[in-house]
Symmetry: C3
Subunit: 427 residues, 3 copies
């Protein structure tokens, strides 16, 4: 029975058009142009590298797209079991009519050529959006992005702020900020002014969120402007900051972002837990990991200080989901947000999704985002999530709690789409 109920729920959920509330899509080049754009996704390069393909083979300068794909194909058999590879197969099947169960040295060239022909069609991007039932795609924009030359109703800007908070001591960051805002941020007041201009620019261009990823040790604290001025003086003098000073500066900028989120009524997406460059010789974007010894308790001061700011929170370590459920259950301004990165496989999603659906108000859950770099990935990733969601709705709600299928489907629609509209301000 369970399988049939799940299938009924899934069929309904599959009809629902989607808003993808967090991606890394480049709106000027949203869809792929060759299969190398798809197989160059870090999930494949890092797994192939982890399985033994040398970094030099993958990232060789001037490597032609087709050659890159050919090299990666050699390692696909080692990855055959992975969920990540199943996304690739589903893309090949759904978009390019691929019929085999594996991509192999014998069949990949044909697939490559088929994909190339499809991707060369004028309306490929529109085809992908339509087939994937994507109404809107949220972006990740650098703070100095001009946000020009694309439809911000379709590709919705988000202000990404990692560089501001964690790399402000780099002169390149400060130069970008000055150029973007016309303000030289040499003290606390001018830094606040500059950041305010960013918020104005972004919200005038339909931005729906401010976002940042955070290391597991970070704990935001309010820092007074007066204690920041001498630190900024050292920064402009190119003196080295102590660890404490650097952390104070990060806290000050972070807190300023939260203040502007309150003022501009923007949700502040927190993606908590990543350590950058843990594997220093890893491939591009395949170097980051985490330390699961972190806690949302580190955000106590922030969550209390900004009751009017909604914080959609993603956690990297699946062990952190249990805290996320509890903090969302208590704090009105905490919302669960998707299944991020290393948590983004069915084994983790299922447990995390079950706990959320059982204990967090339904209005406070953003079910899923794709985190994709190329448009073709929304389809298999949302498919994966919907299958898990349908399974949990079938088992925990229809079978264990006696709900009607319709009631379960409505719950599914709320977390899959309804909340995205309501929390980020609609389309």
């Amino acid at each position: 029975m369970s399988q049939q109920v799940k299938q009924n729920i899934l069929s309904e959920l599959e009809q629902l058009p989607l808003i993808d509330p967090h991606t890394h899509i480049n709106p000027h080049s949203a869809a792929s142009t060759t299969l190398a754009d798809i197989m160059g996704y870090h999930y494949y390069t890092e797994l192939a590298h982890s399985a033994g393909l040398p970094k030099e083979r993958i990232e060789e300068e001037g490597l032609a797209p087709k050659d890159k794909v050919g090299r990666l194909v050699e390692k696909l058999d080692d990855l055959d079991n992975t969920t990540q590879l199943s996304w690739l197969i589903e893309i090949a099947q759904e978009f390019f009519g691929f019929q085999d169960e594996k991509i192999t040295p014998d069949n990949w060239e044909n697939l490559y050529d088929t994909a190339l022909a499809k991707m060369s069609e004028d309306d490929w991007e529109q085809q992908v959006l339509k087939q994937s039932k994507l109404d809107q795609v949220y972006l990740t924009n650098e703070f100095d992005d001009p946000l020009a030359g694309f439809d911000t109703q379709l590709y919705v800007p988000c202000l990404r702020t990692d560089d501001l908070v964690f790399h402000f001591t780099k002169s390149a960051t400060r130069e970008r900020l000055a150029k973007a805002t016309g303000v030289e941020a040499g003290n606390a007041a001018s830094l606040k002014e500059a950041i305010g201009k960013l918020f104005k620019h972004f919200t005038e261009n339909n931005a729906r969120a401010c976002a940042i990823s955070l290391p597991p040790t970070f704990s935001p604290q309010k820092v007074e402007s007066t204690s920041i001025d001498p630190i900024l003086k050292k920064v402009t003098d190119k003196s080295e900051l102590s660890g404490t000073e650097a952390n104070s500066l990060s806290c000050f900028i972070f807190w300023t972002l939260a203040e502007y989120c309150a003022e501009f009524k923007l949700p502040f997406d927190l993606m908590i837990g990543v350590n950058r460059r843990v594997y220093e010789e890893g491939v591009y974007q395949g170097q980051d990991l985490y330390d699961s010894r972190t806690s949302l308790y580190l955000y106590k001061e922030l969550l209390n200080a900004f009751p009017t700011v909604t914080f959609p929170i993603s956690v990297l370590a699946p062990t952190s989901n249990q805290e996320l459920v509890s903090y969302s259950w208590i704090f009105p301004n905490v919302v669960t947000n998707g299944h991020w990165w290393y948590s983004n496989i069915p084994a983790h999603i299922e447990l995390d999704c079950r706990a959320r659906l059982q204990a967090v108000p339904q209005s406070k859950q953003i079910g899923y985002y794709s985190d994709m770099y190329k448009l073709e990935f929304a389809l298999p990733k949302f498919s994966m999530y919907r299958r898990v969601l349908a399974k949990v709705l079938a088992n925990d709600f229809v079978i264990d709690r006696g709900w009607s299928e319709e009631r379960a489907i409505n719950l599914g629609k709320t977390v899959l789409r309804g909340n995205v509209e309501r929390i980020f301000g609609g389309c």
Copy 2:
């Protein structure tokens, strides 16, 4: 097959009368008088607040019970998915003949009035006890509770000691202790004497356990009386203690409690992991959360020092269950105790219960307690637990290990009831 086996096991477990080994029942007012007593449970006020109902709407002074219920009902739809709400619906159905699947602005008044009529019957408390198959209900008594005016065979006292251990520096606590015992606890010796009097009073009144909840950073250590005397001198002089001094005093009092547990042969319930007042603007009892970075390793010295004291341990963070399983597997004096607070949803109970049933001696597991404040909650909470227990017994024991249903049912009865009698000293 799985569903049928589960149902057979569940039917048998449902026949078993219960002892509820940890509640917050007031024995002088055990059952509810209006639906506001039930919907005023912090699980509903905090979730409604989390979903957006302002604290002022919930805790307005002088608010009539019916008005309070009416305001909470406005937010129930947002909580419709939660397990916590399913308890409320089950109470409405089982005790008040409620027929709808949701409590809504349209039907709540009728339910309110029906409940009021039932609750006004003279024997309502007895009706609830009988329908819930409750033989005994353990209490949580303040250390200065006179324990008079109720049947301690039915409502079994437990000595709750948080105030002694963590708030002894407050003069109110010391005054309450002096008043309860006739001893001014101005040095280590008199403090020990006073606490001894509490144990005498409680055990003479059928107390079955000493209990305390503990923050995630606490690590009990033996502290010598000689180092406590000067600290107590500062306390009576109303000097501020340093963090180290305050911790030493907490450790000393905690250790003294353990010594008396040994002397009076009382189990010592440890509820590990709560941070108080994390969300300072939260509703009453809806302000506490946790930091999952804790470990039973912090209790190493205690568990070694008191081999004759049984420690029924509850953990708050579900990630701690795995340590609890291992420590109960090794330490003779550690017993697993229920599924506490944020762990008390099927998604967590199922995993925690599976690991315990697979790896901890069956004689060392206290399956469940309700933690309720009002008597009506035992029914839906134990129902929820029994359903999970029956599922685990069906899948892991009957199906996977080939046990007979009878054998699985006996295991279920042991953790659900038999161990409670044996470990706490029977009824």
Copy 3:
């Protein structure tokens, strides 16, 4: 359907001969001689002790094997639910024709005598190997083991190094090293030389791995020889080392082991997370537990420094599995290794196995090892693992992902056997 698919997969996996890549078998006495060898396994003595059997009853000097078994049998009913006891029952059934479902005071003597008769047969060891389908059994050898007098193709040596890294300050350790190598390790250079001789001796005798268990706080760091010389001088002078000095020495020896693993092309098995002697009054081998607050992030420097060394990593706390999955997904030199000790029950194996099979390249997973001390335990332990593996393959791959049974079976064979051969260098 799920049950039938699982059964089909299981039947195929059960045909596969095994290599057991980590055990504590004594090759000079691999099989049991009485049931006391089996029931004396720490899993039973510690659980019986935990359930209330006094240590003195278990470890009484001069206790005859049959009497020891008789005493343990008294407590078996308390352990009836445990997975660990199910191994014992399966041994009794599979090797000794035991027909009952429990071992009781009434039937144990008959079982004891039957087992004694079988174990007394000349070829008992060969019978066990054959019935268990064991092709090879990897050992855990002290660093000064002569590795003589047994067939190293069947019983494959592994160099265990806990004493070198964590007990080098004990004179007994240094004397054993001097005796084994002919080198007095009084400074960094001679210590390196001595360790090099161990690697030469072990690899000449078919050793396939270096191995060590590690406390949760350990974080390997490169330490210069020059800073170690004065520390070693203090050691040979029998001066007490500070905590920092002792840690530096441990790091230096550990790092030296990793260097030789690179030179001799040996995998380095890391078993991460154990605290020794947490329960000081526990039975033999039943005193160790853990602190789940640990992270693979502590191994960042090591994993980056030795790209050519394969690190099969086992974690003790099930909460650490999620990091292990992520680190194996990124680092080419990290391989998941079995389900260690407190994680070795189906409730944990199932979740851990699912996450690994979904996210780690199939070529980087060593499914299981028995960790056994006596040969009879491979059969029930591998049976338990295979049942979980078959269940995960059936549900997650055949049913959820539409794989053929054959494809799923091949994945099972890869993690169960193929990778063991490839990663450790084959038979």
